[in-house]
Each structure stands twice: as C-alpha cells, then as structure tokens.
Symmetry: D2
Subunit: 383 residues, 4 copies
C-alpha cells in the first residue's frame, strides 16, 4: 500500500554512517517510504543497498542526474530527495533536484561557496520548493523548549552568549609520528579539495552558529577569529568572538583536537532575567536559572515544559530519546510541510520548524567570515 | 520485495505508547517487516493502525487466537509475534502463539503467576521456540560493556551490590485530595485485577532484578523486603535486601513516589578489584573505578571499550543513541537467532544475548518473593 | 589577653589527624583559646604538641584524670574539654570530666555500650553540663537548610528515605594476599578490643543514622539488617532497612569496601510535596525537587535560602567552605551555649543546634540494633 | 609563648569579609601569630577588631605609615604585613612596608597602573623582600596536581586553552529599574575612582589569566578583546582571545552578569597527549583525559596523585577542604620562605610555590591590554 510521501536518496550506501541515520530517522514517520536511490557511485554498493531496502532495480540509479530527470517524469515520482553525499558534491546535486522541481533535504554544510548557497536559496524560492538542511541538533525537544523560553522573553534581554563544539577525533593528526602525514580516514577532512576552505569550522563550527541563531534569533553583525592549523592545510581549532546586531558579544570555540571531547556541543545564553545552558551529550535536559533563583534541571517529557515546545517529545521523561529522534523531528516537519504544499495548503508555523536553505546559507557565510578574519590577523569581518 | 523475517503484533494500536516503541525499534532492522496484527480489541483502532502500517485487511485480525491459527497455517506466515498488550493478558496470548509454533517476544512482566511462567518456559523449550522478554535496559551498549567487564573478572569477586529504580509518577496518589480515590490513568497500576499481586515491584522492581542478574550472573538465594502501599491496594514503594548464592548481599529500592525521579534505574556493583556504576538517564556512559585508581567515565563509541561489547553501538560516541536503540538491540538478536534457527543452524552466543522466557520467569518469582516477605513481616523468602 | 572561653584537649597530638581538625575548627572562633591538654600518652609527643600550641608546661598533663582534677580546681580552669582519643577510651574520659563539672565535646562514636552512653546522658543532665558529640556533617550549612525545609513542611509528609555512607579504604583487606592478615593501619578498625562490636556501622553507619534523624526528626521504631565481615572479626559492609515510628521505611547502606568511594555520605528524603538530596562530597549544594517541578540545585551563600538556616554560611556562594567549617559550626554553637550558661542565661534555640550526648546515645543504640539483627538472621530489632 | 613568625594586618576589620578569610587561613599555621594591625581607618572599628584578636593597644595603629615605621623599629616587630584594604590603596601601603623592610602579602589586584606594579617589583627585588599576592585559587591541591601533570609533560604539547570566570552578582545592575543608577554595594566596583580602569577583568579576569599561567607556564604574547559595559562606566563582561608565545590560542571569558553563576572559575587545558579540566566549585576534583582514554575524575587525598603535588592536601579524600585551605596553602609557603630567609637559608623550590609580585604585575598588564584592545576596536595588543 503506497505511503503518502515518497522519497529517494543520493548517497547513503549501507556502510555510510550518516546516510543510514537519515534513513532510520525518516523511518520513524509512517507517512513516508523510500522508493528510489543513487546510493553510491560504485555499482555494487548501489545495488546491495537498494536490495536491502527493497528498491526496484529500475529506480536504482547510477547517476543522480538521471534520477532527478526520471523521478520528475514519473507520475509516482518522489516528493523529496535526501542528499547525504560528500560535502563537495552537495551543490551540484541539490541544484539538479531543485531544477527538476523536487523538494530537497541536504546534509550540512549546504555547500562551500556563498555564491552557490545564494543560488540554491534563489532556486528554491523561485520554484517554491521545500529545502531542509539537517542541522540535526535543533531537532532535540529541549532545544525547542529553550528556544521558546528565550523567544518568549523568559531570559529578558540577552547580555552574553557562549558556545562551543569540541571533539578530539583529529587529535592523532598532531602526534609526532603523524606530523608529516595524515590519518587515512581524516584525509578528506583537511583536504581543501574535499572540504573547501575549512575543516572544523565548516564541519562543527556551523552547528554552534546555527544553534545560537535558532535559540536566540540573534543575527551576527560581524565577527573576528583565530584559527589553528598546526601545520595542516585546514583548521583544526578556532576561537571566535561575534558581535550581534544588538551590540552584545558571544564567544565561540570549536576544536577537533580537544582530548576527551566527543560531540561536545554546548550552548549557553544569559539574559537580564535568567539563563539557559544545554549540552548535546545530555540532550533531554536543560539547565535554566531564573535571576536570583536556583539552577533548575528541566527534563523532557514532564508536565512543566510547555505543550508547544514539548510536542516534539515522544518518550516519557527519563527515557533518553537520542539523536535519531532529533533527526526524525526535523524530517517530520519537512514532510508535514510537503504534505501541506501538495494539498495546496499553507504549512502550519509549527511545521516550518526545521532548518532551511536560508540557514544553510548563513552557515556558509559564517565559515567564510571566520576564515577571512583569521587570514586578516583577526580583523572584524562583517557578515 | 519480501523481507527475510515477518512479524505480527498483538497490541500496539497507534495511541499505545509502548507498542509504537517496539515497532520503531524493530524498524531499525532491515531484515524484518510487519505483515499482520491484532492491534486492538476495538475494531476501529485495529483497522486504523493496520492502514497506517499498510497491513492487508485479511491479515488484520479481530482476535489473537484467530491470528495465531491463521498465521501458523499460511505458507508465508509470521516468524514471530510481538506482544505488547496489558500485562494481565500476556500469559494467554503467549501460550496461544507458542502452541501455534510461532516465536514470541513479550513485553515484561511476562505474567503474574509463577506456575504460568513455568508453563511458558516449558512450552517454549519443548517446542524449541525463541521467546524474548523485553527487559529493555539490558539492550544498552554500555550495559553490555559493564557485563563483559564483570564477567571477565575485571572487578574481581563481587562484594556488594546496590540497585534502585525510582520514579515519581504515582506521587499524586498520595496527595490529600486523592487519598480516597485513584488517578485515572493510574487505576490499573494499583488494581490487583489488572496488575496481579504487585504494582511497583512488578512494573519496575523486576528491571532492577533483571539488570543485576544480567550484569553479574549472580543468583538470588533468598530475599526479605518491606512494601509500602500508603493505603492503596498495591505497593508504591519497596525496600529489599537480597542474599546471593555466594553469600554477598545487595540492597534494592524501587519507588513510584520519589519526587523528581523519572526513570531512575541505577545499578552499582562493587568487587575486590573495582566497581561499576550505570544510570539509565545517561545510558551512553559507565562509571568504572579500578581499585586504588580514579573514577573513569567510559563512553560508548570509543576505542577503549572492547569490540565484542561495543558491537551493539551504532552512533559515534557523544551522539546519544536513546532507548529505541536499546529495544532495537534486543530485537536484533532475537531476529538473528530466528534466522539461524530457520536455516537449521545454531545461533551464535552473541545472538542469544537477549532476555528470554527464563529471565521472565525469574522476574515473576522475584515479585512473589518480595510481596511474600513483606506479608511475613519481612522474613527471608527463598527464591 | 584572655579569651572568653578556655578549653583543653585529650588526644590530638600533632600527628593525630582528627584532633588537628578539631583544633583548627575551634580556632575559627575568636572567643576561644586552647590552654591545656593531655595530647598523648607518650611524653615526647605530648610535650611537642603543647609547645607547638604554646601550652604552659604545668598545664600539659600526662594523665587525663589529673587534668580533669587540676583544671576543675583552678580559678581559670577550662570551660570545656575536647576529646579526640581512640573510641575505646571515650567513655572513661568523658565521665571523668563530667564528674569534674567540666563541659565536654567528644568525637563520635560516643562509646561502645548502651549502658555507658545512658550513664553519660544521665551524668550530663544531672550536672547540667553541655555535652556535644561531633557528628560533623550536620554542621554543613546546606544540611541545615534541608532540615529547615523538611521540618517546616516543604516536603509534605515523608514517604521514603534512602541513605548511604560508602568508602573504599578497607577494600585492601579483601585482597587475596591480605585474606589471612590485616592491613596495619586498619587493624584497630576491625579489632573488637579497639572498636567494640562494630567497625563500619559504628564508624560511618552512625553518621547516616544521625543525618537522617537530624534532617527529618523521624524516630526509628525498629530495624533489620545484614552485615558482611568477609572473614574479618567485624563488619565491613551492611544493608539496613528501618521502620520509623510513622510506619514509613528507609533503606540504609554503609560500606568500607566500595571501590572508588571516599566519604560518600548521601541523604535522600522524599515527601508528598517534594524531595531533597544531599551529598557530602559537594556539601555546598542541595538538590530540591518540588512535586511536579524541575530538580533545583540550591547553593549556599545565596539570597533564596532562608536567613535562619543560611546563618551558618561564612563565605559567598561558589566559594567552597569545606569540612573545617562544618566542625567550626558545631563548636560555635557549643561555645555559644556555654557562654550563655556561664552568664546564667538560657541558650538560644539556635545555639542548641549541635549534636548532643542524646544523639550519641541514639548512635550507640543503632549500632547494637544493627549488629543484633544481623546475628538474629535479620529479624526486626526494636530501638 | 612567642611564635616563630609575627604579622600585622592593614585592613581586615571584623566585618570585612576577605580580611577575616585571610586571618583564619593564616591561623591554620601554628608558626604564626597576629601581633598588630591597622584594621580600619575608623577608630572604633579598629579598636574592636584589635580587642577581638587580643592585640595590644600600642600596636593598634591608626595609620599604616605609622605602623610600618613603628614595627620596623621594634626589635620584636612583624615579619610580614597582610594587606586587605580596598584595591585603590594597595600600591601606597605595599610601598610603605617594602620601604620599611617588611615582607608583604597583598590581596589581588596588586594595583591599578603598570608603572606602580613595576615599581613594587623593583622595590621588593632590590630589598630582597618576600612579596606574595593572593591569587587564592592556585592554592588548591588539585590545581597543583594539574600543574605538575602539565609541566611534567603528561599532556604533551599544549594545543588549546579555554578559561572562564563567571558570576552573576552584578546582574541586577542591568535591571530596568537600575539602568540609571547603581546598586549600593556595587558602586565601588564600577566606579573608576575605586576600581581603576576595569571592574570585571580586574576583579575576576585576572584570576583566569593567573590560573592558566600557573597551570601551563605559557606566556601571553598578545591578546584581543571585547568588553561590555551595558551603559556603566566599567566592564561587566569580556571576551578575550589570547595568543601565547608558542603560537597557540586561548579563549577567555569573564562576566559578572551571567545568571546562575557564583564563582565559576573553570580552567581547561588541552594537549597532544591529553587534557585537564578544573572547576573552582568542586576544587577537590580534577578531570584528566589521556589521549584515546576515558575521562578520569582525580580526587584529592588519594594514592594515585603524586606525593609532591599532593603535599598540600590536609584532609582525607572525600572530605572537602574548601577555600580557607587554598588561602592557607599560599600563606604557608610565604611563611616557610620568610623563615628560611630569616635563617639566612635559600628557600626550597616548594616553598616558593606562591603567587608573587611578578604575577601581580602580569595581572595589571593583562587588565590594561584587555581594556586597550576593546578601546581599539579589538585590535591585538602586545603584552
């Protein structure tokens, strides 16, 4: 029995870590089914993945352009494509599907160049297509609770921001024996051909930028930075000071050489009436301190968080939901928006709660500003 | 394209919380598909659930007995059934499917009476059928890491155990205004007709018992307890001291009236050479202290946990997996075991790493022993 | 210039750990000075300690009985004595000073036998002497805050209690090489001649008992226990279930063989309207959860804790005070009470906030009940 | 009986918070006694404080200059002075005592102007006088453990640093009702006449700078900053990026408007072989992660920390020592150094482990660099 929404994948062969996460997350939504794909440029991998997911051979494409064309032509063609290929291919693939009139969800970073990102924004808007960018972490329920608290004024005026995303998985790049070479699986990360102008800032720094933007609505007016390459071609560590349009400053730090850190995304926002702190390692909890009061540990799945923000919650409090659910929450809203559009209806504001191509563009601009500032001896760069 | 393993559900209509969790968890396994069900005793609910999951009308059963008979008769009948109905129906349903020669996965508690549980064990063993019981929490990777550490002797001889599972969701039962009545959604919890002889001990206490048993392999020789009903028909709080067969003691506490606790399952095991502590709220981490050393916080998805125990891990360390994955890990092993059996092969020991009907029986015995001790002024009760 | 209150010490030579802590804690109080002592039964040690503290040779006593007699006879004799000798000497020494009409502060445990403790209570009361027992941990400010919250009804009726005091410093006793012998510095701990009928329960278990009693005012009606000696003469681990006079139960655990634990005293109290949790390792903080609300982390030195309970606080919040201050708070109240008595005034209720000989007696009874229950196969023992 | 070392105080009347902390901390050292003081410019306060501490009227000075002169002239004059007056008086007072040939311990910040600080350094060195500056936090044992680990190479080469000192006690300055005025007790903090060119950076930012310098030995080559005054005369929040002489960067943040923060000093140092993290709120613990290993929580008072660094420890592990002990550890080393000097001996390197006037000078330079950079639109300022 056919599902309401059909999608295909570009990327996401069986061994591909992130593609599989996307697929499982989409699988949480009973309205959606996977019907086609171009899972790998290697024929064997492509075929095996298709078989595992019961994809018909005629909808197992060797080439994403052929897929875009064929699916656009079918009466039962896909509603959206999920793109989880290497970062340097995002732009071309997304463009092809937009041009074919197909909605797109693309992994972050959207692309490498600001001009490319702007073109994708323009294309999506001209064609009135849905374009999600999977800044996953904003899919967590307690991030939505924090956002609602901040936007509704519970923290008063924001006076200080601090964010970090720190990992240690490229630390081995700095060991004596590796100083001249590169860890195999990390090669593409610090190779400009594969990663554009930035490694760490592009890979994880954009998550910080997006998270603070999502939580607070603050726009970065300008920023300055230092970047550390430790002899590599691209950045492994970066300190950033931002100035928001309201004149307040934020301190950001991203690193892939901080021993002991796994996916240490932390967002801290301080206002005249209180503060919130959220950490990705414990996503079901949120620290909230009202001015003059005790620190409170808010938990997902409880009666004291608001219904609207808590709506993303699926398990009772105290049963961790995990990152699949964060992804699933983003896809759920994308799918709801597509369903509304198919029916000629306006999406609910709640449906539109997913990172779009505009947030993707902001991320690309942020990366360029950080790298430019570092090259200009840490001068301020306007966003 | 048909999947390798087909399953059906008894229970699990769309609004049923735990059935949906089971279904999503099973959905993580690309080898399995849902093909039939008796999702609700209400026709409308049953039909709507079937439609949402694309189940053919002829395999949407109004009655679990009819389902067992029909599926057993079909050449493409289900390999296993997942039972997520109210606890007081488990025994009858499981028995029907076993008798029909179909493998079973049943939510815990297995059933209410020791004699019933023993009968299910006997039936499953006589017919050589797989019978999983979803003590979910043993599906977490770091629980498996802890178990492997303990069973391989890393803690030396065990000298002390401490466990608790504490919640607060029935606290409202004790409020002045509710002293004479019952919270609606809690009625069946403290109604002997629906919950057998125990509420809290049966519902959450068995998780403690199973967790310590899984982690340590220790057998309870005897136990004593106190139980608090606060004027209700069934227990809301219980303190238990157990004596294992090796003469060591453990202190257990379960409660559903402990303000601020959500699903506070904590297992702590102390040995002559070190200790481990695990908490369900932060399932991706494990505290380990070697004798004379610093406390270590082990994380899932890292290089320093063993390959065997770490095999259950699906996401990189620092990206929380959540409870769906714990469920999925249990089902994955059940499914692998069924596949081996279908092929006439012996299951790998790793495949058999799921809680079986024997663990279900232990749980039922534990509940009876705790309630019996409390009734006998906290005398020791042999297991 | 002479201070308002003069004291002497029995025990507390320079190398004696706990005597030095007492002395430094008393030193926080500018109203008090050390003027005499019988610091050690070894002449050299006694003399060196006296010299370090500027004690005159004629007030450096070789014998505590001589000290009691001489100081009682002097017009400028001591107001109180601080007793920090080995536990098996407390009874005789305290008795001697009480008989000499001198106020006493004694380290816990007060003594070994219930009859001895009762005699000390009787003596102190007949002679109207102040008698403090240093259950140190009740001196922490946040313990006082918790007590005030509980006694003022903020938690409603208490429905569950959980306490533990766990250490690992005797774990080495259980190593294979030590199974037949004893660690030198631990010998007296597990030697009945030096420690009476109990090691762990007497040493640290009494702190749990006293802490819960202080926090809640609940009286233990009866208790049952298991005790583990692992082949030693005295207990190293004990699980205890208590029944308070209101019918509620508490679970207690004390251990000196729990790897990784240092001075892990944790008190958790749950009521119909909320809960508190306090941990000695982080004494400046208190977890408080109102029913239906988020967990709150209350901190010492803030505006939201009450003035009365917060009065013990000396440093701004966020600057840890430490255990010396907990001791100092107990001594400060003892000293204030003595000053009032000297002036013929009634002490303020706030001054009387220190553990007295009556609490010392309760501790001795508790130890006897725990050991008796374990010997009677865990039968209930009335307190 | 006279003690080995005699000291006097300038500042520290009975109500003065920090003077009392210094006095209690010095009181931990049995080699030292307080013999004179100029505790307050108000006669009554001065006299009452002197009486409380048993200071003779002839050594209770109305004027610090008179005190310096008189004590220098006495055969039994003080060995050192402890200066805990308002910050704007430090320079004059320290200078007077140095000129009188008396050793000095001064609260931080040392003074306001770099030229003044340099003069004090010069004076102390020319006269070979001991000059301690109480950057308290370096007195904690676990800070010393961290320093020893880093300096001995356990972290490899340092690749990233992150530090913060955040409080919330001036948050009220930003409330709507206070926007035009100042909180009474905060007036001097944001008044240039009382606080020099900086409030937060001078008050708490210098602690970050000193802590990282102490832990790592890294020298700051240059820095850039933003500073937020929110309409006040002086800074309430500052973000700083530093570049050390080895080319590595550090991100620092200090704030007095971060809701929920008390004395949130956190130091985090990352190297090629591991990382350490330390937080002032839990000073007895240190997080250490070896590259590729689990996070370890090291505790004070245990066998696995080195003897040298652990020597500052006074209580068994798990019994919090608190901030008095951090102060006491600094004073103990100052006193040991003075004793050696009096005896004509060279101080042990271990004795010299206290922050000196040179560290005081670094702090003053740091404050000036931060404020200068902010004024120059965040340009780099060389140190």
């Amino acid at each position: 029995m056919a599902k309401e929404i059909k999608y295909g994948m570009v990327g996401g062969s069986l061994e591909a870590f992130i593609g599989e996460v996307h697929r499982k997350a989409i699988g949480f939504d009973t309205r959606v089914e996977l019907v086609c794909g171009c899972f790998s440029s290697r024929e064997e991998k492509n075929r095996l993945t298709a078989e595992a997911y019961g994809i018909a051979p005629e909808r197992t494409y060797a080439d994403y352009k052929a897929m875009a064309a064929a699916e656009a032509a079918r009466p039962d063609g896909i509603d959206f494509v999920s793109v989880t290929t290497p970062n340097n291919t995002h732009y071309d693939i997304c463009k092809a599907f937009l041009e074919a009139g197909i909605h797109v969800v693309c992994d972050k970073p959207l692309c490498f160049e600001v001009s490319e990102a702007e073109e994708l924004v323009k294309l999506a808007e001209e064609k009135d297509l849905v374009f999600g960018v999977t800044y996953t972490y904003t899919g967590y329920t307690m991030v939505k609770v924090a956002r609602e608290m901040i936007l509704s004024g519970k923290l008063g005026e924001i006076v200080a921001v601090n964010a970090e995303y720190v990992q240690d998985w490229l630390l081995d790049e700095l060991s004596a024996e590796n100083r001249g070479k590169q860890k195999n699986d990390a090669v593409w990360r610090t190779d400009p051909a594969k990663s554009g102008i930035s490694n760490s800032v592009g890979d994880i720094g954009t998550h910080m930028e997006n998270m603070i933007s999502y939580l607070t609505g603050l726009k970065i007016k300008r920023l300055l930075s230092t970047v550390n390459t430790y002899g590599r071609a691209l950045d492994l560590n970066s300190n950033i000071i931002v100035e928001y349009e309201n004149g307040v400053n934020g301190g950001y730090w991203c690193s892939q050489v901080a021993a002991g850190k796994l996916n240490g995304l932390i967002a801290r926002v301080y206002g005249t009436e209180g503060a919130i702190e959220w950490e990705q390692h414990y996503p079901d909890y949120l620290k909230y301190t009202p001015k003059g009061g005790a620190v409170q540990i808010l938990s997902r799945g409880t009666g004291y968080i608001t219904e609207a923000a808590g709506a993303a919650s699926r398990l009772p409090g105290g049963h961790p939901e995990g990152m699949y659910v964060a992804f699933a929450n983003i896809y759920r809203n994308v799918v709801s928006t597509i369903i509304k559009k198919k029916a000629g209806l306006a999406p609910d504001p709640a449906d539109l709660d997913f990172p779009s191509v505009r947030e993707g563009l902001e991320g690309v601009k942020f990366v360029h500003a950080v790298i430019s500032s570092a090259k200009a001896d840490s001068s301020w760069i306007d966003m």
